[in-house]
């Protein structure tokens, strides 16, 4: 009897977890899928249409960002966004967009998903392009007369792109 009970259990388990799956969940509609897919990787293929200039970004920054990040992006009190190149190996490293961030697409992604701090999600894609352009220009990565769009952002190479390496642990302290 125990053998038969075991066999039955195995058969029931196999039929419950077999290749056809459990049949749980439902197919999302196309609109749900399209709206959800917002995270932007280094290739920038997920970037939306839109464009914004450094000048537009400067005005937006003064109005919406400077209270926390300082008038020029260097004063704080919240994270310093500008400058710091050449400081990473010193006793007082400044890990800014210009000195540290490996991918420009992350700047767009983070502003769009999480900024401004008290009202994330309130900026249009054009405004996010403009702010990204402004911050990259302030860091000397784009010219002042840039109008940034999807293709332009995908073409940006950040100074510290090669500054990261995989976790060497275990085997290193």
């Amino acid at each position: 009897m125990p053998e038969r009970a075991l066999l039955l259990t195995v058969l029931l388990w196999a039929s419950a977890t077999g290749a056809e799956g459990l049949g749980l969940g439902h197919a999302p509609d196309a609109a749900t899928l399209a709206a959800a897919d917002t995270a932007i990787g280094p290739s920038g293929e997920e970037l939306p249409p839109g464009r914004g200039s450094v000048d537009e970004g400067a005005a937006l920054f003064a109005a919406q960002c400077a209270a926390c990040h300082g008038a020029t992006g260097r004063e704080g009190p919240d994270p310093v966004l500008v400058g710091g190149q050449g400081t990473l190996a010193t006793a007082k490293p400044e890990q800014t967009i210009g000195s540290y961030w490996p991918y420009a697409t992350t700047v767009f992604d983070y502003i769009r998903r999480a900024m401004p701090f008290t009202r994330p999600g309130s900026l249009s894609d054009d405004q996010v392009y403009a702010l990204t352009a402004f911050l990259l220009a302030r860091n000397g990565i784009l010219p002042q007369d840039t109008v940034l769009d999807r293709d332009g952002l995908r073409a940006v190479r950040m100074p510290n792109q090669d500054g990261f390496f995989p976790d060497p642990r275990p085997g290193a302290p």
């Binding site: 977890t17 799956g21 459990l22 749980l24 969940g25 439902h26 197919a27 999302p28 749900t32 899928l33 959800a36 897919d37 917002t38 995270a39 932007i40 990787g41 280094p42 009190p77 994270p79 990473l88 190996a89 006793a91 490293p93 890990q95 967009i97 540290y100 961030w101 490996p102 991918y103 697409t105 992350t106 992604d109 983070y110 998903r113 999480a114 701090f117 994330p120 999600g121 500054g163 990261f164 390496f165 995989p166 976790d167 060497p168 642990r169 275990p170 290193a172 302290p173």
Partner: protein, 397 residues
């Protein structure tokens, strides 16, 4: 009950009865008041006041609160004292409206209600969660004033949910999928990338903590639970999982949660929490240590498995003694250790050092800084020292 303990009990009873007799005489006729009635949801005793410590900041929605480890009894953390780290506050999510979308490199993108997720085979896991920023001030020298402020970004719970692997199987991952990108439904839509191999190994979609629904600040109604890895990858308020060939390189895995080395380069995706331990008593506090017997107590943990040994020193690391480990000693869990000690009034330097089942030994501060410099902010796990002065005061050393 042995004869000796029975005699002690009877003696105690007689003494108590005598005292009560006197008291009864003073209040004859009043009797004893009834206690409180039964209640729908219990609260701790009104005399108990242990609380999380909030990192001082202008923005309490984007900071951390720290578990009061010195007040913790045993190795589990009550849900209400589990540390918090939010990046844009705690969202208020109605469970019936919440959905988890799984898409990307899958043959069948699927969306799940909570009711649908709960129908998967149930899974339960005891484990600690530790923020990789725990002890960050100690990189620059003794920083936190007490164990709550040096080590309170770790907590240990029993988590309930379903295996992420089971849910992913429904979606039929494509062979080129190597990572997943998890996104929360908080205001900042916090996003982190996790290797798919880990996701298929022991990651849970958790809806419960310590026997009840997740607290809002712990991700209600659904969070990732990634045992052994830095806390921020256990994405709270989980609403989306996208399978991909590469990480998304979000801000929380590039600008933050990367470890700057002395040569100016940085380690990326340093997800594993190495072994660590700390003495929780004696530890800095308002009351000086009384001379005489003092049990040294503490917690040890490792993201790589079980703690196998904890050694304690009372002379700053010159000599070490094995502490007793109190079971159950479970992998990736806080493990309580104790060692009897006598405070004679002579100054002492207390320290603990743990070893995990991989053979990894918790490093000294000097060894850690020699390898990583002092600017990596995250993953500080060096031996912590408390200095006991002759007057019984205890200090971070």
């Amino acid at each position: 009950m042995t004869d000796r303990s029975r005699r002690r009990f009877l003696r105690g009873t007689a003494t108590t009865a005598g005292l009560l007799g006197l008291a009864g005489g003073a209040h004859a006729g009043q009797g004893r008041a009834l206690g409180l009635p039964v209640s729908g949801y219990g609260q701790r005793a009104r005399h108990e006041t242990a609380a999380r410590w909030l990192t001082p900041t202008r923005y309490l929605a984007s900071t951390a609160s720290w578990t009061p480890l010195a007040d913790q009894v045993g190795s589990l953390t009550p849900a209400g004292l589990h540390y918090e780290r939010h990046h844009a506050g705690v969202p208020d999510i109605a469970p019936d409206a919440h959905r988890l979308l799984i898409h990307g490199l899958v043959r069948r993108p699927l969306e799940f209600t909570l009711a649908e997720l709960r129908r998967f085979p149930q899974a339960e896991r005891l484990c600690f969660l530790e923020c990789s920023g725990n002890s960050y001030r100690e990189w620059q020298g003794p920083g936190g004033v007490d164990v709550q402020q040096t080590h309170g970004l770790t907590s240990c719970s029993v988590w309930s949910g379903v295996r992420l692997a089971d849910v992913l199987a429904e979606c039929e991952p494509q062979p080129e999928a190597r990572w997943l990108v998890a996104e929360g439904a908080d205001a900042a839509r916090l996003t982190r990338s996790l290797p798919l191999a880990k996701a298929l190994d022991d990651v849970l979609l958790a809806y419960g903590q310590n026997g009840e629904a997740l607290r809002p600040e712990q991700g209600y109604p659904l969070r990732l639970l990634v045992p052994g890895y830095e806390g921020s990858i256990s994405v709270k308020w989980l609403s989306r999982v996208k399978l991909s060939a590469e990480p998304v390189y979000s801000r929380e895995e590039t600008s933050k949660y990367t470890d700057l080395m002395p040569d100016g380069r940085a380690r990326a995706f340093t997800l594993m929490m190495d072994a660590k331990s700390v003495i929780t008593a004696p530890s800095p506090g308002p009351t000086p240590l009384a001379p005489g017997f003092q049990e040294i107590r503490g917690l040890a943990w490792s993201g790589r498995g079980r703690v196998t040994r904890v050694e304690v020193s009372v002379d700053g690391g010159e000599h070490w003694q094995d502490a007793t480990l109190h079971g159950p000693v479970l992998p990736v869990c806080h493990t309580r250790f104790t060692l009897p000690w006598r405070f004679t009034g002579a100054p002492a330097l207390l320290a603990s050092r743990c070893t995990d089942e991989t053979g990894y030994v918790q490093p000294t501060r000097e060894a850690l800084i020699a390898a990583r410099g002092a600017n990596s902010f995250y993953h500080y796990n060096a031996i912590q020292r408390w200095r006991v002065d002759a007057d019984g005061s205890v200090h971070n050393a």
